[in-house]
Symmetry: D3
Subunit: 137 residues, 6 copies
């Protein structure tokens, strides 16, 4: 079993808030991430796939295919977008990096399996100092 | 003459567009950075000051003071904010990184001088791959 | 279960040596890290917490609180300090990064639990090339 | 149980191809990595060892010894070399990063054990965006 | 005058040697970079353009166009290629990073000018530790 | 004229203080860098040399020689040392990064010239956020 990871980037706007809360209450829960006028980040996304190495080709799965899948399923929907308003797979939830990671897992899991691998980890670096990982359970 | 640089971070939303243009025209000029629903970045800001080294203390200017000045004049206004809507020193201009760099220069120049140094460079890394520098002329 | 990591920094002096050994013997065991006149490092500290995502807020634990806990329990005691002479939780042991990692775990574990998460990993990067991780067992 | 990681570098040429295939077939399987005139990479190698911390020295294993072992067993054979033509432990296989990781594991496992640790992970970063890990099973 | 930089990557094989020299003589001049079986690198390329900021758009030159120019003129010719054998603009010279930097300058200068900017610097990072810059004079 | 840069590392202890000042006065001037029990850093040192490219070899100066010179003149004296107590070329001055940069310049200038290049810049990164550069004037 070998683990292979692809790193990708996207930039997006978001706001952390609960609709029924006042701005003050949202600030208490989410801090300056609740700014009503939006703010944004450069997100770094790491997708890790595990699988057996093919004894002929020496590969698990071609990273070009993983990269293309991430582009189609995730980057085309989130890059230079507003995570609260424009992303179908984030509707109805607060766009925290925790929810991003678990939602991206759901979007990618089947596609990775159809490429012949198993999704192992979705990692999001919202900044150099704040990192989220989800392993599917 | 020695050069001393302080690195700082901020996260903000923006949109590149010209008010009189249609969305299509804005897309032609600014690409996906013109998304009407905003997007955002983690900006890295480098401020470089030059000056003579004090022969007693071995310092030009204390970086704590530079850091505090950047916090007061810049970070408090832009971090977790919307660069189009909320930043006084960016009013009336498209919030490109070019305009950010020249505007931050204007905000910092006098304060750096009153600390005993000369502002040499404002550098903004909008992403790992896109970098802007302004040297005041 | 989602994993969330906070990155922090500190700079400190240390010396690796055993009190009953001569300088030559200490050099044999610890190499140039045994220099009697001290040396030091910029340490990067990663603290990883695991927990369930709150379905309402989309968060496990607020990273501001983790950051504040690390500041109070660890950074205030080690940043710009001498790890051999000044740090209560390192008394009586050689201040290797291994001992730092296990000691920081002990200092943080209860506080993380009282914030509603579970401490998962303490990681110390003593340099770009030397990294230590402790998972509590 | 504590985990300690040493980072090392090497630069090498390689070509991904199967001898019985035409250039077109190899391009289909391996993409531009199949260029018949070779290409190359700066590889970053992380070797992680686990072990108990010695209560006297506060160390698992001295990283100098790990570094020296990696130099003798791996770097001397692969740095500034052609992975297809010149590396004994890669003979008869396609020099993908997957095969590199599992082969380096085999080369290092016994040496790490004789130093008193257990090999835990071999990680290869072929570029910033493509990462391979092997945990020995 | 503002400076804008685009970062790009490529991976390539090369060998440093002089045709009339023996392998030993080449090793004396070029060290292990003279390995007759090739080796290779991940090169990071930074292209810096200077220009006046357009008062309407707030941009000097669109980085998409710079990126596209670099792709057409440079990356398509060097990425996953052999710098000694396959790159037209490097024929007849030793493919050192110094020659790469000055040659890339020549390939890009006119195209940058036709985009409305002035080429300011070509920077090549052959590794984290070895960096080359050329400013056109 | 091409510029070539070598990156090196060292770790050292230091204390910023003036002998005639009380601990309180030193704290006012130097902040927590004045801790009487020392602290330390991982310093990253960049040495930039400029010169004409040799039309035969395609090199200005071999980086191996620059690296060896830096090791002999600088790293052997400062790595894992106490900058206040043990470094001959820092005697009688406060070991700030400003003084380090100008002192390293003096130590290297003649050696670089005898290798056939001209010293252009000494850059010290005391941390990710604090950077000092000296250009010799």
């Amino acid at each position: 079993m070998v683990y292979i990871t692809r790193r990708e980037h996207f930039s997006a706007a978001h706001r952390l808030f609960l609709p029924g809360y006042t701005d003050e209450e949202n600030f208490t829960v989410f801090g300056k991430c609740s700014n009503p006028n939006w703010h944004g980040h450069n997100y770094i996304l790491f997708v890790t796939v595990k699988g057996e190495v093919d004894p002929v080709t020496g590969m698990i799965i071609h990273l070009r295919h993983v990269s293309k899948l991430i582009e189609e399923k995730i980057l085309n929907k989130v890059d230079h977008k507003n995570l609260n308003l424009e992303v179908d797979f984030l509707q109805g939830m607060v766009p925290t990096s925790e929810n991003l990671a678990t939602s991206i897992w759901k979007e990618l899991e089947e596609g990775i399996r159809s490429l012949g691998g198993m999704l192992h980890c979705v990692r999001i670096e919202q900044s150099e100092n704040n990192i989220i990982e989800y392993y599917g359970e």
